[in-house]
């Protein structure tokens, strides 16, 4: 599967990473090399093999629905880029 410049721009947008036209050229070259490596997988017949998502066959643990964390809003907001009145500030999204 070969990539083109517009693919790189589309993927970068999906990943929410700004990319300049100059960066697209370099990135296209490097990503194509990596995808070439990945392509080796296609030679393997995997018909009927159950995908392995995890190394241990464990089930999701459940716990009582109780409060386990204390409110640390001020501590957590002390490392935020922009806050006001206990809220995180972002550019306006609704007109």
């Amino acid at each position: 599967m070969s990539l083109c410049s517009s693919d790189v721009k589309r993927i970068a947008h999906l990943a929410r990473i700004e990319i300049s036209d100059a960066e697209v050229v370099v990135t296209l070259h490097k990503l194509s090399g990596i995808l070439g490596l990945i392509e080796q997988m296609q030679a393997v017949d995997t018909t009927g093999i159950t995908p392995m998502s995890h190394s241990q066959d464990v089930v999701q643990r459940l716990r009582e629905d109780v409060v386990t964390e204390t409110n640390q809003r001020e501590l957590f907001q002390s490392i935020a880029p922009a806050v006001e009145a206990g809220l995180y500030l972002v550019p306006k999204v609704i007109e």
Binding site: M1, L3, D7, V8, I11, A12, H13, L14, A15, R16, I17, E18, I19, T27, K30, L31, G33, I34, L35, G36, L37, I38, E39, Q40, M41, Q42, V44, T46, I49, T50, P51, M52, S53, H54, S55, Q56, V58, Q60, R61, R63, Q72, L75, F76, S78, I79, A80, P81, A82, Y88, V90, P91, K92, V93
Partner: protein, 487 residues
């Protein structure tokens, strides 16, 4: 002092021959002299560290101390530590002060160990040379023009240059074992699920596992006793009986079946590394081990599989860095979307961006079956290779890395050749097995001795036996006690 084992240091502390404050100050002095060049630490905070040492001395005086009480340990900067700058090697987290403690940090704190500082690493643990760190590359103490390996390169250099008594690392595809091999120390990646990932900044969650990096297997056994254990806050933490990893250290090796996978000795392995590994295997024969030939036929596929699964998981994990709640935010932007895109473009380095893009691509609509699902199917074949191999042997042995430490800059511009550094280590993470690297000798390059490690792969939960296998070797060899010149 700097070459003493954790057990020896522990005895000296218990006997009040030295205080934790004195021992800690000794390491802080060494860091002040050597770190400006080696760059093993991103953050050193002497006040914070010495306060912990004072508390440890009180613990020692009160008689409530354990094996690691008062011992200065370096923490990889991937572990969130309360009040400590925690960067994960990234500009994205350049000013991030940990608001809580990772489980690994909590466990060392509870044991009375002293946090000596946060070690350098490849950005978000993505790399095999420590060159992707935003905070500068790390020098290999054996040859300062060479890389220490990665991603736990700062921890490896810190142990090798005796800038700490021991260190922690994390291993997603070889990030403990490969730097341990390149810097001449012992490093262990435990079975997936033994050490809590809580507060360990996530790269590829189904593969990430923390472990010890130290001068010897005996030291690592003591650290494993502290680091492992169930933690409710990590959904993949395993509920098991607490083990004493020192229990089998002195068992004889007679009758031990050691499997040598032929794929680990094929094309791609450096002749100088092969020679050292063969020497180590000869030593194991003398110790009574029986050597059997085995095969792990899907070894070569582990790299393509890894470079689908790890970036896929990373692209998801790293989506949390959006410039809203913490981390870098661009200074100028037009709207919310622009703020996300600029903050992430500025905050992440080139290798991290590449992996996010690969991960985003393989998970995007239309490609899921061809890449992600296919990789998970081959992952099962790789795990089955090991399952079959362990029917014929107790332990698997081979090289940790295909070469000794390479020159800084040599592979930095060629991601694919860098990825091949992990050819012998990645399959272990995919299967979730424990893997370890121990020093087995040196290969000379340009007149300098460069360390070579051998890898020991065990079956699930067989860490105590692996440490026994390593410890027995370290009783009859002294490779692990060698120190670089000029440190």
């Amino acid at each position: 002092m700097i070459n003493k084992s954790l057990k020896q240091l522990g005895s000296m502390l218990q006997a009040k021959e030295i205080s934790s404050v004195e021992l800690t100050q000794e390491y802080l002095n060494r860091i002040a002299v050597l770190n400006p060049e080696i760059n093993a630490y991103i953050t050193v905070d002497a006040d914070n560290t010495l306060a912990q040492a004072k508390a440890a001395d009180q613990m020692l005086a009160s008689g409530k101390s354990g094996a690691l009480t008062g011992i200065p340990i370096a923490q990889k900067d991937i572990f969130v530590a309360k009040g400590w700058k925690t960067t994960c090697g990234s500009k994205m987290l350049e000013t991030f002060i940990g608001p809580y403690n990772a489980n690994v940090i909590e466990r060392f704190d509870a044991a009375g160990a002293v946090n000596l500082g946060k070690t350098n690493m490849d950005e978000f643990a993505m790399g095999s040379s420590n060159e992707t760190s935003y905070f500068g590359k790390v020098q290999n103490p054996w040859d300062r023009s060479r890389v220490p390996g990665g991603s736990s390169g700062g921890s490896a250099a810190a142990v090798a240059a005796r800038l700490c008594a021991a260190a922690t690392g994390t291993d997603t595809g070889g990030s403990i074992r490969q730097p341990a091999s390149l810097c001449g120390l012992s490093g262990l990646k435990p079975t997936y699920g033994l050490v809590s990932r809580y507060g360990m900044i996530a790269f590829a969650s189904s593969l990430d596992q923390a472990g010890p990096m130290a001068k010897s297997c005996e030291d690592m056994a003591l650290m494993m006793n502290v680091m492992t254990g169930f933690d409710e806050r990590d959904s993949t933490s395993l509920q098991r009986e607490k083990e004493d990893y020192t229990r089998d250290l002195n068992k004889p090796l007679a009758g031990l079946k050691v499997g040598l996978p032929k794929e680990y000795f094929a094309e791609g392995l450096g002749a100088d590394v092969a020679k050292v590994v063969e020497g180590a295997i000869a030593e194991y024969r003398k110790l009574g081990a029986e050597i059997v030939d085995i095969s792990l036929p899907n070894t070569m596929l582990s790299i393509p599989v890894y470079y689908v699964l790890a970036p896929a998981e990373a692209s998801s994990n790293l989506s949390r860095f959006d410039g809203v709640r913490y981390g870098h935010r661009a200074a100028e932007y037009t709207d919310l979307m622009d703020m996300y895109c600029k903050s992430r473009a500025e905050g992440f380095g080139a290798e991290v961006k590449r992996r996010i893009l690969i991960g985003t691509y393989v998970l995007s609509a239309g490609y899921y079956d061809a890449y992600y699902l296919k990789a998970q199917q081959i992952r099962r074949l790789i795990a089955q290779d090991f399952e079959n191999a362990f029917k014929q042997c107790d332990i698997i042995m081979g090289p940790t890395a295909p070469s000794t430490a390479f020159k800084a800059g040599e592979k930095a511009d060629d991601p694919v050749s860098m990825y091949l550094q992990d050819i012998y280590t990645i399959a272990v993470n995919l299967a979730g097995l424990p893997g370890m690297s121990i020093p087995a000798g040196f290969a000379e390059q340009e007149g300098k001795p460069l360390p070579v490690g051998i890898q020991v792969i065990g079956n699930y939960f067989d860490e105590a036996r692996m440490l026994n296998v390593g410890h027995a070797y370290q009783q009859v060899t002294d490779w692990h006690l060698q120190m670089p010149e000029g440190i």
